[in-house]
């Protein structure tokens, strides 16, 4: 060892910094080595913390850096009519989404994207905000962009980091407004819906059925989206697919609808507000269900704009309302089916019973007036002429409780259970109801009004169809059904919907037969002559329902063939004034159309005459 350079005897130096100066150079080097050892040791501890203690955590971060999960959208199932004609299909399209974690410069990218897509910038920001909580999942900002937009986005993908284009089919309704209330439409899943649907794989921005069978059968129409795990580099370029899970397309739905009949119904209602329900009384299958005015569900297929939505929802004609199921009306004389059946079953009338109609009925201080004096009528003629006086007498005779009971047995006052959302139940009044709702006792005049379907009685067209079907089929209350079968994506039938019996009328067959004779007379020689079809015996009942909101509603409810009913048709024309004039011809058109189809089928069937 070299002798230390600064050698002083400790303590001999009078200056205060003497001890320091006594330090040997090698001691200084040693302390330097110690300091370095401590510093390197600190780094080692830090590395232990990062790599060993938190290694798992950082490994996950590294994975989320490089892995992207792409959804491969599964096409929604098709919707077909009873003969397999496609009513709702899909078409390939592209959607544009934002991937929040890759969107480094939203201030630059979003205005640019707004210009390219034509979507307001504020809407893009709102979407981005929604996606913040799940930065690795793309949030859709626009569906169904054209190929030109896709090209522009792909060309500029480096400037527009965080914008992704995905293939996603778009729903197509080839017939536009025809059948729109049955088919329904799609809309973006709402926050509340999402809460319930997330376990089934729905995510924000997904489309979900909002009305019609699209909503009713959303679960089976919707497929399971596939997933692709892709490795990307720092620029977001996909490098390779690491894992792929195939999706499964949705199941297809065959409806009971006969599209020819449906189109006929819509054509008949064109320009008027109203509804048509056509039903097979033997099975409950709904062959046509129309509501007018209608709307074009295609407008919803890519997410409806706020302006269009407001225009539709705020339209005073209320095109979104399904008048066949979701709106209740005064039934007017159509309700005489209930009164007549009650009187026959309660033996207050028989086909041969005679009534004197002077054109009015005196009740205490009041006089109830009919449109005309029918003179002496038997029961059948009274039905055919829709004689109010006869039904007043019958109603007064059986009383309001019996009327309400028979109305309930025919299914009024409760939903039909038709497989369409948002059905209303209508109303069958009672003493209790009037006292509760109006704070007044039940007057005898209320019974008279109820007997002819006025006053507090409210029914939906589909309820009328169910009730008339029960009359036509011998007394079985059947659930009206729009769906007929479910097909697998490969086209195999996986489920058939059979008739659902909801109850039996429990009336004598003679009573039913007497009522039906009256209904036949309505079309043969009464108020419903306009519903008559050459070569087909039609039975039915007209109605002109007084309403406080304008001209009377026109009703016709009928079935054919009269002796072997296979089709029930119910027509409602809002403010159509006279059932026999406004509604019966609509029904005739449907019966004719149907009958033409039946004859065609009969000729086509091999071995038939």
């Amino acid at each position: 060892m070299r002798p230390p350079r600064f050698r002083l005897v400790p303590g001999s130096d009078p200056r205060p910094d003497a001890p320091e100066r006594a330090e040997r150079p090698s001691a200084r080097l040693a302390s330097l080595a110690v300091a370095l050892t401590v510093a390197f040791g600190a780094l080692g501890v830090r590395l232990w913390q990062l790599q060993v203690l938190q290694g798992e955590y950082y490994a996950q971060l590294a994975d989320s850096n490089r892995l992207r999960v792409h959804r491969v959208a599964a096409p929604r199932g098709l919707i077909l009519d009873r003969r397999g004609r496609p009513l709702v299909t899909n078409r390939p399209a592209f959607s544009v989404s934002l991937l929040p974690m890759e969107l480094e410069a939203p201030r630059r990218v979003l205005p640019e994207l707004s210009r390219i897509l034509g979507v307001p910038e504020a809407q893009l920001w709102a979407r981005l905000e929604q996606g913040r909580s799940r930065p690795f999942e793309p949030v859709r900002v626009r569906r169904d962009v054209g190929i030109r937009v896709v090209t522009v986005l792909e060309e500029r993908r480096h400037e527009l980091r965080g914008v992704v284009v995905e293939a996603e089919p778009v729903r197509v309704y080839p017939y536009g407004p025809v059948g729109a209330h049955v088919l329904g439409y799609l809309g973006e899943v709402s926050a509340e819906e999402l809460e319930a649907l997330r376990p089934r794989g729905y995510r924000p921005g997904d489309l979900v059925g909002k009305a019609g069978v699209e909503r009713q059968y959303d679960g089976l129409l919707r497929g399971d989206d596939g997933e692709q795990v892709v490795e990307v580099d720092a620029a977001g370029r996909p490098l390779r697919v690491l894992r792929e899970q195939a999706g499964r397309p949705g199941q297809s739905l065959v409806l009971a609808l006969d599209w020819d009949l449906q189109r006929e119904a819509e054509a008949q209602l064109a320009g008027r507000a109203g509804a048509v329900v056509a039903m097979d009384p033997r099975t409950g299958e709904v062959l046509a269900l129309a509501s007018s005015p209608s709307f074009d569900p295609n407008a919803f297929a890519v997410g409806i704009s706020e302006r269009d939505w407001k225009a539709l929802a705020g339209d005073p004609r209320n095109p979104l309302l399904n008048r066949a199921t979701a709106s209740a009306y005064e039934p007017g004389s159509v309700f005489k089916v209930v009164t007549g059946l009650a009187a026959l079953q309660e033996r207050r009338a028989s086909p041969g019973s005679r009534f004197v109609c002077t054109g009015s009925l005196r009740l205490g201080r009041w006089v109830f007036r009919d449109l005309q004096a029918h003179g002496v009528v038997d029961f059948t003629t009274g039905v055919a002429q829709s004689c109010n006086v006869m039904f007043w007498l019958l109603g007064r005779s059986v009383g309001p409780e019996a009327l309400a009971q028979y109305a309930a047995q025919l299914g009024f006052g409760r939903p039909t259970g038709v497989d369409l959302p948002q059905e209303v139940e209508g109303n069958v009044p009672s003493r209790d109801y009037k006292e509760r709702t109006w704070g007044e006792p039940w007057y005898p005049g209320d019974t008279l009004n109820m007997a002819i379907g006025q006053g507090f009685v409210l029914v939906t067209p589909v309820q009328v169809a169910r009730a008339l079907s029960a009359v036509a089929n011998g007394g079985v209350l059947l659930q009206p059904r729009v769906a007929r079968a479910v097909l697998s994506p490969e086209g195999k039938v996986v489920r058939r919907f059979g008739p659902v019996v909801q109850g039996h009328l429990g009336v004598r067959q003679e009573a039913l037969a007497a009522l039906r004779r009256g209904l036949e007379a309505v079309v043969a020689r009464g108020t419903g002559r306009a519903a008559a079809v050459q070569g087909l015996q039609v039975a039915g009942k007209t109605g002109s329902a007084e309403t406080p909101r304008g001209r009377p509603h026109a009703w016709f409810a009928g079935y054919a063939p009269a002796r072997d009913p296979r089709l029930v048709v119910v027509v409602l024309v809002e403010h159509g004034a006279r059932g026999g004039l406004a509604a019966a011809p609509v029904a005739r058109a449907l019966f004719e159309r149907w009958w033409a189809g039946q004859e065609q089928a009969a000729y086509a069937r091999p071995g038939s005459p």
């Binding site: 080097l29 080595a33 990062l50 720092a234």
Partner: protein, 372 residues
């Protein structure tokens, strides 16, 4: 010269060769070569920057041998020329240098690009060691420090102006280390450091916005996770995700998928962390630590003060580089843009560090008085 001339004396000197120091140096260079190749490998060019790196290594090994062979005192004797040349080169760089990453650091001479600030570290070490070794009296008053601080200030300022904050801090570390070894009283050095820290806010306005941002995000990287904080975050993810054993060479996703920025230069340590794991990072740290401690051992047995100060200066330089660079990649130090010695890709830096290692080896070789 004499080293080459006398085989007999060469053998004698080699008895004094610090083999551990040399092996540490070579292992670090080899590790760097492998990791740089991994960090720059692409599907098109699987070998990445291996070829230029090998050129740097070969040249560097000659430089190392040369600096070990040349009698180190002869460098001291030309200190004035070294000092003047250094200042001239730095000034020239400030004036006509090539800019990269927002700073003028490069000087192009034909096909060769130089970073004069790297060379000036070595020049500072040699010239300061020489002047320090000629002091006869002990340091007693604070004013005694003045000539040596004045010695260091001009190159410091020129580098700071490039701007190269990292290298100016390296200068400070070198000066502090050498003054410490020269026996400057603790109080004076403490005062010097305190004065430097107090003066730091005065330098704040002189910093470029990106330099300020680096200091800000060091405190809170989440402040700008996709901008200035991005490097820090991605580096920590790379190192942490390496775990105990690493993902294997060429298999780090942060590295190969380009999430890690500057992965072959300033952030090369993160590639070691990701691909070789805790085992790899600790091995690298042990190599650096052993290198520094052996370098200090050589300093303690040097035959003269000049040799001792040379060793301390070189160790200070490499140790500061290593601690700050590794500290930066693990989030313990701000981003200053100084490379990892022997490992990072970069010719000038590698040559300077190998030259420094050569100097230390040379001091070690001449520890006995027999041959000088």
């Amino acid at each position: 010269m004499s080293a080459v001339a006398a085989p007999r004396s060469l053998r004698r000197r080699l008895r004094h060769l610090d083999w551990v120091f040399l092996v540490c140096t070579l292992t670090l260079v080899a590790l760097g070569t492998v990791v740089v190749t991994s960090a720059t490998s692409t599907p098109d060019q699987p070998l990445g920057l291996l070829r230029p790196r090998l050129v740097h290594v070969v040249v560097g090994l000659f430089v190392l041998a040369g600096f070990a062979a040349v009698p180190y005192r002869s460098l001291g004797q030309v200190w004035k020329a070294l000092y003047g040349g250094n200042l001239a080169l730095l000034a020239l760089t400030d004036l006509v240098g090539r800019a990269a990453l927002g700073a003028q650091r490069w000087l192009t001479l034909g096909p060769v690009s130089l970073q004069p600030s790297e060379l000036s570290k070595l020049a500072l070490i040699v010239t300061l060691a020489w002047t320090l070794s000629h002091r006869r009296e002990p340091f007693t008053r604070p004013a005694d420090l003045l000539p040596y601080l004045l010695h260091a200030v001009p190159p410091f300022v020129l580098v700071f102006l490039q701007p190269d904050l990292g290298t100016s801090l390296v200068f400070a570390a070198i000066v502090l280390g050498m003054l410490w070894a020269a026996g400057v009283p603790r109080r004076h050095l403490g005062g010097l450091v305190a004065a430097g820290l107090l003066a730091a806010p005065l330098l704040w306005p002189l910093l470029k916005p990106y330099q300020r941002m680096r200091l800000v995000v060091f405190v809170d990287p989440g402040l700008d996770p996709l901008g200035a904080g991005y490097n820090l975050i991605q580096s920590k993810i790379a190192i942490g995700s390496g775990g105990l054993w690493g993902k294997g060479l060429f298999a780090g996703t942060q590295n190969t998928l380009q999430f890690l920025p500057m992965q072959h230069t300033d952030f090369v340590f993160a590639v070691i962390g990701e691909e070789l794991g805790f085992v790899g990072t600790v091995a690298a740290l042990v190599l650096f630590w052993a290198w520094c401690v052996r370098g200090l051992r050589v300093a303690s047995v040097a035959r003269d003060d000049f040799g001792r100060y040379l060793c301390v200066g070189v160790v200070s330089m490499v140790a500061f580089h290593t601690l700050v660079n590794v500290g930066m990649t693990v989030g313990l130090a701000p981003t200053t843009g100084i490379p990892l010695p022997f490992v990072s890709y970069g010719g000038t830096s590698l040559l300077v560090n190998l030259a420094g290692a050569g100097l230390v080896l040379g001091v070690g070789l001449r520890r006995s008085k027999i041959l000088f």
